[in-house]
């Protein structure tokens, strides 16, 4: 899938300022019995957003009126830890989020996010605090995100953020990583010639026995 390019964004933010939000919370495992990546937004934060009768919990930030139309999610530390399920990124993107701001991200989540047009911004603790202060003062404040300039701003606060150059290029241009890998086929073929054979022969035997 070619990701949606990301250049700039002006949108409201939702605060879900908890540390260590795991992907089981972002989308519980019982919703993973699907063969599609579409439509998972309805399961986003299912058990936090809704009670056991599937009624929205009024105190959950995504259910607040100000969250309507928000495109930025502000979380705490180590967002997206746990399971590798890309369904977490699909659910966030399908809900409408384009940017996740946290003080740190789990590795696999961050890898998955960029492949789905989701920008992850890791802010230092003081910038993170300052952003939260702005949002506490005005919950419907508009955030401005400029990926090319690597800047995020809200109210009279702004900060720069770092991003891995390749991830930046992929997001800005909507570069598809699979296309990038397919384009270096000759390098891969050359590597396969010089690489120690390893497992291949044994697995082939095993697969014949299995079929």
């Amino acid at each position: 899938m070619t990701p949606l390019p990301f250049t700039t964004l002006e949108a409201r933010a939702v605060r879900l300022v908890r540390d260590d939000i795991d992907t089981d919370q972002i989308i519980p495992a019982r919703f993973l019995t699907t063969i599609s990546r579409a439509g998972l937004g309805r399961h986003l934060f299912a058990d936090w957003r809704c009670d056991s009768m599937n009624a929205p919990r009024p105190d959950f930030p995504l259910n607040a009126p100000a969250a309507e139309g928000a495109r930025v999610l502000v979380a705490g530390r180590n967002f997206g830890c746990g399971s590798s399920r890309e369904h977490a990124s699909w659910a966030l993107a399908d809900w409408g989020f384009r940017v996740i701001i946290a003080t740190s991200f789990a590795d696999i989540f961050r890898n998955n996010a960029s492949k789905n047009g989701l920008l992850t911004i890791a802010l230092g603790a003081s910038d993170h605090r300052a952003l939260l202060d702005v949002l506490e003062g005005d919950g419907s404040a508009t955030l401005h995100v400029d990926l090319a300039a690597q800047r995020v701003a809200a109210g009279n606060w702004s900060a720069s953020f770092t991003i891995e150059p390749f991830a930046k290029r992929c997001l800005l241009e909507g570069v598809d990583e699979l296309g990038f890998l397919l384009a270096v086929d000759a390098d891969i073929a050359a590597f396969e010639v010089r690489h120690t054979p390893g497992v291949a022969a044994a697995l082939l035997t095993a697969s014949r026995a299995a079929s």
């Binding site: 899938m1 908890r18 540390d19 260590d20 795991d22 089981d24 919370q25 519980p28 495992a29 019982r30 993973l32 019995t33 699907t34 063969i35 599609s36 058990d47 056991s52 530390r77 180590n78 830890c81 746990g82 399971s83 590798s84 399920r85 890309e86 369904h87 990124s89 740190s104 789990a106 590795d107 696999i108 890898n111 998955n112 492949k115 789905n116 891995e164 150059p165 390749f166 990583e177 699979l178 990038f180 890998l181 397919l182 270096v184 086929d185 390098d187 891969i188 590597f191 396969e192 690489h195 390893g198 497992v199 022969a201 044994a202 697995l203 035997t205 095993a206 697969s207 299995a210 079929s211």
Partner: protein, 468 residues
């Protein structure tokens, strides 16, 4: 002078250029029904083939039922959720279409992907191994670089056998000393995670070193590496040694004769060179570790089974602890010992191997599961199941009143119908105590098979050393 990780990494670099991440070659790609369908769809949409079906193996483990089919009935005829059945059918169709070997329903080698890979000798030292599953770190116990990937990356590997990867940093976790009576690999790794934190390994590959690790069996090493991801680490690795080679010798996937000897000498050279350095080192004294149990909603929130739960002021993040304890119904500063439990689960890719079942059976032999407790014992693979039946372990479980099941992920991820009731406590030998992980509202206490079995017998949180 290079570390084990650096040696394996460098041997798999296809290309490094400009600002792009390294193109890293994958030796072995494991697939399962839950995280692969969208990747195969991507291939179909682009008209691509699977580049190396001979380096791929698929199975079904996450959403499969673990109840035993009635005599004469096929396992696939068991009732399951519509979505699960569709995933299994899709996996079979995808494997047939793309020529990917499938260890399917009626295959007696079937099991959790991280259990049968090593069992069949597909997992080998020095390999790069990936799977759309974060517990792929398990295979690092053999000195492989093994890590979980998302579904987009599953598609990348299917189509190109490669991944775009930034080189991680290295962390040594050095463990020395003998583990005490009743203390197992599961306790050690919970203690490590409690020490470095649920995000403490982010951006790093951990190498476990030291006398404690050297003295461990392969099954124990797998338990340790399995939970590396619970500290946020990209992977966990252990340098291969004679224990590794003895485990692998004669398994179906490994070479034989002269090729075996050549492989072993190649594998011996993988160990970290003397004088090579890590970006970070953590040292652990194994003699100080007690049987562990988790009390909160991530694996870092773990304590010695006989210790009190931390007070709100004692934890690095008071509000997080307060929220976790409210979900868990646990009181700060008080011990968990004696707390009633309703369910006990033994299984998963963390501790679903024969030695784990032996531990649990040792506690249950001649004893009964408390009337108030439902206990599930789910072997990690059909091979583990047969072995446990041959050794009489299954009889011990049945006689004690536990349910003896077919292999699968089962109640660890609770997407196959095996789940814990809302509000109930489950002592589980699996890897995650996240909110709702074992069923909406379920409250998970992570522990070793020894501890879990002791809790099943007493019906309350129990120090296993009192039953040894």
């Amino acid at each position: 002078m290079r570390t084990l990780f650096e040696k394996v990494w460098q041997a798999h670099v296809v290309r490094e250029a400009g600002d792009a991440p390294t193109i890293l070659y994958v030796d072995l790609h494991l697939l399962h029904e839950v995280t692969s369908p969208q990747a195969f769809s991507e291939l179909a949409a682009r008209g691509l083939a699977v580049r190396r079906p001979d380096r791929s193996v698929a199975t079904m483990d996450h959403s499969t039922p673990t109840v035993t089919a009635p005599a004469g009935a096929a396992a696939r005829a068991l009732p399951m959720a519509a979505g699960a059945a569709e995933q299994l059918a899709q996996l079979e169709a995808n494997c047939a279409r793309y020529g990917v070997p499938l260890i399917g329903w009626d295959d007696d080698r079937r099991g959790i992907v991280h259990v049968f890979g090593p069992e069949l000798g597909y997992t080998q030292p020095g390999m790069t191994i990936v799977c759309g599953d974060s517990h792929t770190s398990t295979h690092g116990a053999f000195g492989a670089l093994a890590f979980g990937i998302g579904t987009s990356e599953v598609g990348h590997v299917l189509a190109t056998q490669c991944l775009l990867q930034r080189k991680p940093c290295t962390m040594e976790v050095r463990v020395d000393g003998a583990l005490g009576p009743g203390v197992r690999a599961k306790d050690l790794v919970l203690a490590i995670i409690a020490r470095i934190g649920v995000g403490g390994g982010t951006g790093h590959v951990i190498e476990y070193t030291g006398s404690t690790i050297r003295a461990m069996s392969m099954e124990s090493r797998m338990t340790v590496c399995n939970m590396s991801i619970e500290a946020g680490a990209r992977a966990g690795m252990i340098a291969p040694d004679d224990t590794t080679f003895d485990y692998l010798a004669g398994r179906p996937g490994v070479p034989t004769g002269e090729a075996w000897d050549a492989a072993v000498s190649r594998w011996r050279a993988l160990a970290t060179d003397e004088g090579a350095t890590y970006d970070r080192t953590v040292t652990i004294d194994a003699t100080t570790i007690a049987p562990m149990i988790s009390y909160g909603t991530n694996p870092e929130m773990s304590i010695a089974v006989n210790a009190p739960v931390p007070g709100l002021a004692d934890y690095r993040d008071g509000p997080a602890l307060e929220r976790a304890l409210a979900y868990m119904g646990v009181t700060p500063d008080e011990p968990l010992l004696g707390k009633p439990v309703q369910t006990v689960f033994i299984g998963s890719c963390t501790t679903g191997r024969t030695s784990d079942l032996r531990d649990a059976a040792a506690v249950l032999r001649g004893r009964r599961v408390a009337d108030s407790v439902r206990m599930l014992v789910v072997p990690g693979s059909q091979q583990v199941k047969r072995q446990a039946e041959a050794e009489g372990l299954a009889d011990v479980f049945r006689a004690a009143g536990a349910e003896w099941r077919e292999s699968g992920c089962s109640m660890c991820i609770a997407m196959n119908g095996d789940q814990v009731r809302a509000g109930d406590y489950v002592v589980s030998t699996s890897n995650r105590n996240f909110e709702g992980r074992q069923g909406p509202g379920a409250r998970t206490l992570l522990a070793s098979p020894l501890t879990a079995a002791a809790c099943a017998v007493r019906g309350v949180v129990t120090d296993p050393r009192t039953l040894l």
